[in-house]
């Protein structure tokens, strides 16, 4: 069993005897050091979806599925195509990618994991930390190096996130793919 806050987009869990893939997991601190997680789930058999909320420490049953390491190749609407180590093409439907879409960019080299259910690729899991380049943000705030003051930044694929005020256009930043949050400036 895993706690609800350990699940992230691409993983599969069992609810009431059925398999559900996590398309999105939103974590929030509710009060006095407790937290809640809202998930967007898709039923792997029926395609039905639901958006339940769990306490962060609720125990849920993960379903261990076949996986293989892949890298992103290209987008052929509505399919995203990945390549495994043996150059097999693996197609994943756009709607099954959930938050992973925020970080897919042409030419990316991150080694991801394709997850298979009954022989079909049903999701892609990104590495926990990825590095992306900031394509636009307001000029850096002089003097603030604490990393506590945040501002909006846009990545090359258009995804926007909050970054530290000292980040500049062209900077490579580390992102936590579980939360979609800025972790720090990438070491060059």
């Amino acid at each position: 069993m895993k706690t609800a806050n350990e699940f992230r987009a691409g993983q599969v869990l069992s609810l009431n005897g059925q398999a559900w893939v996590v398309l999105k997991a939103e974590f929030n601190k509710s009060g006095r050091n407790s937290a809640v997680v809202k998930m967007k789930l898709k039923n792997l058999l029926t395609g039905a979806s639901q958006e339940p909320v769990f306490k962060a420490d609720d125990k849920l049953e993960p379903i261990i599925l076949e996986r293989s390491q892949v890298t992103y190749s290209y987008f052929a609407d509505p399919l995203y195509v990945f390549m495994d180590e043996e150059y097999n093409q693996i197609e994943v439907e756009k709607e099954n990618l959930g938050d992973t879409l925020n970080f897919l960019t042409d030419g990316m080299t991150d080694v991801c994991e394709a997850v298979f259910y009954e022989g079909k690729a049903i999701s892609i899991e990104l590495p926990t930390t990825i590095v992306r380049t900031v394509s636009y943000t307001e000029p850096a705030v002089r003097g603030d190096t604490s990393g506590k003051v945040m501002k909006l930044a846009k990545l090359e694929n258009g995804y926007e996130l909050q970054v530290a005020a000292f980040v500049e256009i062209g900077d490579a930043v580390e992102i936590d793919t579980r939360t979609g949050e800025f972790k720090g400036r990438a070491k060059s």
Binding site: L15, N28, S30, G31, R32, V36, K38, E51, V53
Partner: protein
């Protein structure tokens, strides 16, 4: 006489409360239990795991008795070894307050009911933007469905916990004789009701306390500061240089500082209602001051990784929007200052004193602001009524 109008069908509510620290958990649960019973005519059982803490709020409670009835509410001790209940003995509506975990045997019994219970997790209060998106979400656990119910400050949340008559209390306490009677009840001189400003102080330990007391002492008008005994008491003793005693008043310059014993919820409501400014903390007192339309400064419950500061800012984003222009911004800074989230601000120097004096001079403006905010909150309906309406639709 309890207020009961247009009562919904009476159902059996089971409300579970774990006392973690302080009196916030049981304070909210006890108030909710009574309101469900008195105002909505529901049958309520309140399960509490700490009767001693509860006793402080309900002195009539016998801590040695596992099941008793007080003010129309059945109170049961939530022992570690939970009694076996039949499915019919579980509640039609079951509330786990503040995400406390229900006993496993209770969940099992609940799952065997012929008609499913309406199972609700009553969550913590937060003004953050994500709350409306989580409110009323279902949680499929233990082959049952549990609803997450979030109190809140905006449409799309469950509102705040208050009784219909609460907003009238400030008008009652505006009479000098009412304030004098209140003070006399605690052995305090009725003449203190004549002070230019009445301020209540309920807070956690706070490094900005010394600066506040210095500022009140040097204020050009007389200030009566009323402090119920609690976590701030040691800070008072340190500033005064003596051990304070409940029922005594200590004079320092313009400041008359009265120490009060631990007071009941109705007495605390009266205190909030008679004061020009209330320092409140946590959740319970914070909500009461707002629903009475009184100016207040909130000392938020500290959380790991400074998560409370995000919650403070989220609240200020709503609260101070109701105050126009510079007044709203100054008010927000006062909240940040009291919670040490203005990093560059020294807490106990002459600038701090000027900051406090400016705030006190702004009280007439803040009073208008508090009333405008109260009006917004009243439009959301009260938490107990919203819960009853939700449960009525579900069961």
């Amino acid at each position: 006489m309890p207020l009961m109008t247009n009562l919904p069908i009476s159902r059996h509510w089971h409300l579970f409360c774990r006392v973690i620290d302080n009196f916030g958990d049981i304070g909210v649960c006890w108030r909710l239990a009574r309101q469900l019973q008195h105002q909505h005519g529901q049958q309520v059982t309140l399960w509490v795991d700490d009767l001693r803490s509860f006793h402080a709020l309900c002195p009539a409670l016998d801590v040695s008795v596992a099941e008793q009835q007080r003010q129309g509410v059945v109170i049961r001790y939530w022992a570690e070894e939970f009694p076996e209940l039949t499915p019919e003995q579980t509640g039609d509506v079951v509330i786990e307050a503040f995400a406390c975990e229900l006993p496993a045997s209770y969940i099992t019994a609940m799952a065997q009911r012929e008609q499913a219970s309406c199972w609700i997790n009553l969550e913590y209060l937060s003004a953050e933007d994500w709350v409306p998106g989580f409110h009323l979400s279902q949680s499929p656990v233990h082959n049952l469905s549990k609803t997450f119910f979030f109190p809140g400050f905006v449409a799309g949340t469950g509102g705040l916990l208050y009784e219909p008559g609460l907003a009238n209390l400030p008008r009652q306490m505006a009479h000098l004789s009412a304030r004098q009677t209140f003070l006399s009840g605690f052995g305090l001189s009725p003449s203190l009701a004549d002070c230019a400003l009445q301020i209540s102080l309920f807070a956690y330990e706070n490094p900005a306390l010394e600066g506040l007391l210095d500022a009140l002492q040097a204020f050009p008008r007389t200030v009566h500061l009323l402090v119920p005994a609690g976590r701030v008491s040691a800070g008072l003793d340190a500033w005064l240089g003596e051990n304070t005693v409940a029922g005594h008043t200590y004079c320092r310059g313009a400041l008359m500082l009265s120490v009060m014993p631990f007071i009941s919820q109705p007495q605390y409501d009266q205190l909030l209602a008679m004061c020009d400014l209330n320092f409140v903390r946590g959740e319970e007192s914070f909500v009461r001051a707002q629903m009475m339309g009184r100016p207040m400064l909130w000392h938020i419950y500290r959380q790991e990784e400074e998560a409370h500061l995000d919650k403070l800012e989220a609240f200020l984003g709503h609260y101070c929007r109701a105050g126009e222009g510079p007044a709203g911004s100054r008010l927000a800074d006062a909240f940040r200052f009291w919670n040490q989230s203005l990093p560059a601000a020294a807490l106990n120097d002459s600038q701090a004193q000027a900051r406090w004096h400016e705030l006190l001079h702004q009280l007439p403006v803040l009073q208008n602001h508090a009333l405008a905010w109260q009006k917004q909150l009243l439009a959301l309906g009260d938490l107990a009524s919203n819960l009853v309406q939700y449960a009525t639709d579900k069961v």
